[in-house]
Symmetry: C2
Subunit: 105 residues, 2 copies
């Protein structure tokens, strides 16, 4: 199961799921909203999340077709641990950044 | 700060910190205990964790020198979110693996 921790704990997995907390979103919105993620990496992460049953992909029959992504009920259960991690970053993030700065001096 | 979530939420960061829960450990023990991590990646992850102030590196004056890694008090504060993620994997891991299997069919 620890192997699964490393796939679920994958950096883009956590950030993409955190970004979908607000609700259904289009690919382009996700791409714009997530700092540093490439088109290729977002495509791969969303496809893996869909495979794992954590995200749904809905294609709206329009021209051009509109594609939207949303968390499944299983995906929403991951928000607890992700919020715990975000809160940790909120509490300790500044200390980490200060440690990184002093490591550069 | 979300940039920090993606660095802290990095897959090897979480697994290396989880592996140090048991206490001070040598590099070779960590390498053997963490499935799929390379020597290079473990070296980089430990160096980043040391830079961030989450891990200490102690060199024992022996021949050859013995090097051990341990969590700092700041590093220990990350165990809460990591345990929440590990519990999530424990609860939902089987469902994820089943979803992956059915995606292959």
């Amino acid at each position: 199961m620890r192997g699964l921790l490393s796939t679920i704990g994958d950096k883009w997995t956590l950030v993409v799921i955190a970004s979908l907390t607000a609700g259904e979103q289009r690919f382009t919105n996700l791409l714009r909203g997530i700092d540093g993620i490439s088109h290729r990496m977002l495509t791969k992460t969303l496809r893996d999340l869909e495979r794992d049953g954590l995200v749904t992909r809905r294609v709206h029959a329009e021209v051009p077709p509109r594609v939207e992504y949303a968390l499944t009920p299983l995906g929403r259960t991951l928000l607890g641990p992700i919020n715990a991690l975000s809160e940790w970053v909120g509490t300790h993030g500044r200390t980490i950044l200060e440690n990184r700065d002093s490591a550069l001096k």
